[in-house]
């Protein structure tokens, strides 16, 4: 069974600094990326960073990410 992982971008406001879910996931399912492509000659502003579920084959449904998120931004369902 593959997990459906939803992240509320309004609640997840600074994943680049926070990273709590990435550090807690035992099987490294989640990924940090941006909602804009790479931009020449400048760093992407932190506000454009987003968090998504990526490696669903490894998601066991332990819900550690859901509990770890201080903003309750993550939902995991099957």
């Amino acid at each position: 069974m593959l997990a459906t992982i939803t992240v509320d971008d309004e609640k997840c406001n600074d994943p680049l600094s926070c990273r709590k879910c990435l550090l807690i996931c035992p099987t490294h399912v989640l990924g940090l990326g941006t909602d804009v492509g790479p931009q020449k000659f400048r760093e992407t502003d932190p506000s454009h960073f987003i968090l998504r579920g990526v490696r669903f084959d490894k998601c066991t449904g332990c819900m550690d990410c859901v509990e770890a998120c201080p903003q309750n931004a993550i939902q995991v369902s099957f």
Partner: protein
């Protein structure tokens, strides 16, 4: 709960805690030809292995996936009726010693035939139940003799073998009757070898899955050497042990080794993706 618990737990938490699955006449007056599969299977024959042979390997070499799958399924069907195993944790094995009688320590057939271990170093197999009384009739099966143990002695042996790094598993001799309490490792144990190398489920995953607490793990990597199922690796990037929970068989050898108590066993049933992965 696995399918064996569904069928044979009889109200107990697990099928291997149900005393009824240890109560059987595990001996025959005369060795007959192989009988029907299932509970009345000839227990002597039921101890045989080598269900994956050269034919399978040749199919694999020529990438004949259909033939491979067919042979795997055939081997599994035969094993599940007569002789297959399931991984249990040390704690579960200790509990089992309180409900079985007699308990015996004998030499391991796998290790004798594959590793050529001399009998004195090969007492790693534990037999359960009245089948052990017939050992004098078949001295070759029980080479080195059989030593009967008290429950406390059995617990001591199990704890010692766990320290050594052997996986505890219970094996049927005519499903659902349990008579083998094995202490296995890769590659000599046929059960582990065929499931890890070929995906043939002669050995089922246990009811637990191991999990590393990244806050407690100090990166010593002592656990990595313990995994017999290739589920544990070390991630230098994080300086932490990494457990592939899909692969993990829940034996707990990593957990019993960790000085920091950073590894715990969680119930397989609590993880939706793994609840039906056996």
């Amino acid at each position: 709960m696995c399918v064996w618990c569904d069928q044979y737990a009889g109200g107990y938490e697990r099928w291997y805690f149900n005393p009824a699955n240890y109560a059987r006449r595990l001996y025959k007056i005369r060795k007959e030809a192989a009988e029907a599969l299932g509970a009345e299977a000839n227990p002597q024959e039921a101890g045989g292995m080598a269900i994956i042979g050269r034919e399978f390997l040749e199919a694999r070499e020529r990438n004949d996936y259909e033939a491979m799958e067919r042979m795997k399924r055939e081997a599994e069907q035969m094993a599940w009726g007569t002789h297959f195993g399931q991984v249990i944790t040390l704690d579960e094995a200790l509990k089992v010693t309180d409900i079985i009688y007699p308990i015996s320590l004998l030499t391991c057939a796998c290790r004798r035939s594959i590793a050529g271990l001399p009998d004195e170093e090969n007492f790693t197999c534990m037999g359960m139940g009245p089948g052990m009384y017939k050992w004098e009739r078949w001295p070759d099966t029980y080479r080195g003799g059989v030593h009967f143990l008290t429950p406390d002695e059995a617990k001591e042996v199990l704890t010692k073998l766990n320290k050594r790094g052997l996986v505890h598993s219970i094996y049927t001799f005519g499903t659902p009757y349990l008579a083998g309490l094995c202490n296995c490792d890769y590659p000599d144990c046929a059960g582990i070898r065929t499931v890890v190398d070929f995906g043939v489920r002669g050995l089922w995953r246990g009811h637990y899955v191991a999990k590393v607490d990244p806050e407690l793990c100090n990166g010593c990597a002592a656990c990595v050497a313990r995994c017999q199922f290739r589920a544990l690796s070390f991630a230098p990037t994080r300086n932490k042990a990494y457990i592939d929970q899909l692969q993990c068989f829940g034996c707990g050898l990593c957990a019993t080794e960790c000085d920091q108590e950073a590894i715990t066993l969680v119930e397989r049933a609590s993880l939706p993706s793994l609840a039906n992965v056996w």
